[in-house]
Amino acid sequence: MDWSQILNQSASSIISTTTIAYALAAVGLGVHFGQAGLLNMGVAGFMAVGAYGYAISILSFGFPWWLAALTALFASVVFALILGIPTLRLRGDYLAIVTIAAAEVLRLLLLTVAFDDVTGSADGLFGFSGSFQDSNPFPDGEYGFGPWQFNETTLWPVVVGVFLLALSVLLVWALMRSPWGRVLRGIREDEDAVRALGKNVFAYKMQALVLGGVIIAAGGIVYTLGSNASPGVYVTSLTFFVYTIVLLGGAATIFGPVLGSVLFWVLQYFLSNLMPALVDAGVLPFMTANQAGMVRFILVGVGLMLLVVFMPQGIMGNKKEMTFVK
């Protein structure tokens, strides 16, 4: 077994577009689920809006990449409004049902051949990173140190991603320390009580849904920046990965989702390298290397269950909170 290679691979995932994209999605979901108590089960849908909004804007409308990104974010605002207007007046569970259905509808629309010329159906969209890479300020060459090695084309999306992530975390932090964030947390606890104090609960929930949705969509954009958009990515299991990340880091915290994403992906890479290596070394004789690679997904599910049961406040969450959870 090549331990140095396994560890190197795992460490390199700390800074990757995937980790950053999931961290953004988790920060957005943290606003929905952790702060406002909105049970958004359509994370994959919001990310798909970001990814496809970006790709289609470039390929079909010929927008420059930054305008395409803004268009995608605008599309996510519209998506949030469409989901929120009918459901936010109802009890929380309805949002969960509607969002999970909307995400599936969206994925199937992206998958169907009816819109093949726009969405690329099952093949997805690719070959749209030209405008993005043209704006790359980094000269050709190798960058980084240790396990974190980039060339100019892989570094640029990471830099943009980190910038967006930092901006999002800063935005969420500024909002959550303000009286606005206080109202939102109050709504999470009991919206009727907050209503009785003269706050327009519907407007706050809508603002939170849009804010989180935009950040999640930014995650979808970062995920596609330098690569492609494929409908196979935006499946329901993606939503549950992001939930795992949020719960791992701490749903009601600002920085928890970012930490959760890093830990989640380091663990994913570690297991996906370790398990096949164990099979090759003859330690796990009852499965093939291929099967071993899939075991990590089972472990994610088990991990999510264990988290919810034994550590629902997450790594960065306040343990004291849990004393009072009914």
Partner: protein, 319 residues
């Protein structure tokens, strides 16, 4: 408790015009409801022909379980919509006004099942109660310079109120860590943060430790001293008698009696139908716990109650 009752505060009188009857006009009504009806399926929960709540006084809304008191509260505060009727607060119609706007107009309520925001601190709960906060709007909230000053003065006021309600030592704790009675106090204090004109308390005494009862009563009387109007739902008749200036009796959705506490409670119809036949006798007398009552007296009352109960049972059997 009896020593406190020895120095009762003066009750507000002269609140109504004409005879004290259901729906009678008040000298200065703050809240007027007209023909408010709410049905759930075939059941009429509330059917109030006309009622006026006097300003600057403490009005009690009493009645048996299922009389529609809480539903009436919900209708008045915009948490539920009636099938018919008009109702107005300070002359402004509240029909179709959402709950949060009703609250902003100065009509705040508390809930029968206390709604303390558990995972917010006691201080955060209080600060949430203040209205017109600049920092509660999305974009201004990003710039602390806009809301910091206002927030500090709100915090100062919150601390003052907490001190008055003896919750100041709990300010930094989660509201979830408070006892049931403390949560009632917090909810009342939080409602006061919005500087309301009319406070509607839904069973403020339910589940409150007797040790806290007196201070809660004092707080309610304090609201009146500060010029607020209080409307409360309560089952504890001693409390009603002690602090209410005016009593409205509801049964099966309708207003069946109105008047000052002593006359309403002396009304035999009200006593028999809604309060129980021996509401005028202190439980302490029956159990012989209250000082100054001889055991013989207590026995006599107990015997009388038992005899009446037996009589009632017999009547039912004969039927």
């Amino acid at each position: 408790m009896s020593s406190d009752a020895a120095v009762p505060r003066a009750k507000s009188t002269g609140l109504h015009q004409g005879e004290a009857a259901p729906g009678c006009a008040k000298v200065d009504p703050i809240l007027v409801a007209d023909g408010v009806r709410r049905t759930f399926g075939g059941m009429t929960a509330v059917d109030v022909e006309h009622v006026e709540i006097p300003r600057g006084a403490i009005t009690a809304l009493i009645g048996p379980n299922g009389a529609g008191k809480t539903t009436f509260f919900n209708l008045l505060t915009g948490f539920d919509t009636p099938d018919a009727g008009t109702w107005s607060f300070e002359g402004r119609s509240l029909a179709g006004v959402p709950a949060y706007k009703v609250a902003r107009m100065g009509l705040v309520r508390t809930f029968q099942l206390t709604k303390a925001l558990g995972l917010l601190t006691v201080l955060e709960n209080m600060k949430l109660g203040a209205t017109g906060q600049r920092g509660e709007r999305f974009f201004p909230s990003l710039l602390p310079s806009i809301w910091r000053g206002q927030d500090d003065s709100i915090e100062e006021r919150a601390h003052e109120l907490l001190a008055r309600f003896k919750l100041d030592t709990k300010a930094a704790d989660y509201a979830a860590s408070l006892s049931g009675g403390q949560r009632k106090l917090l909810e009342m204090a939080r409602a006061l943060m919005s500087e309301p004109k009319l406070v509607m308390l839904d069973e403020p005494m339910a589940g409150v430790n007797p040790a806290l009862t007196q201070s809660l009563l004092d707080h309610i009387l304090g609201l009146k001293d500060q010029g607020m109007t209080v409307l409360f739902v309560e089952h504890d008749m001693h409390m009603v008698r002690h602090i209410a200036d005016w009593v409205v009796v509801m049964a099966e959705g309708k207003i069946v009696a109105e008047g000052d506490p002593s006359s309403v409670m002396a009304d035999p119809a009200v006593i028999d139908a809604y309060l129980g036949a021996h509401q005028d006798v202190d439980l302490g007398v029956v159990t012989g716990r209250v000082a100054g009552t001889s055991p013989q007296q207590a026995d006599a009352v107990r015997d009388q109650i038992e005899a009446e109960a037996l009589e009632e049972l017999e009547q039912e059997e004969n039927r």
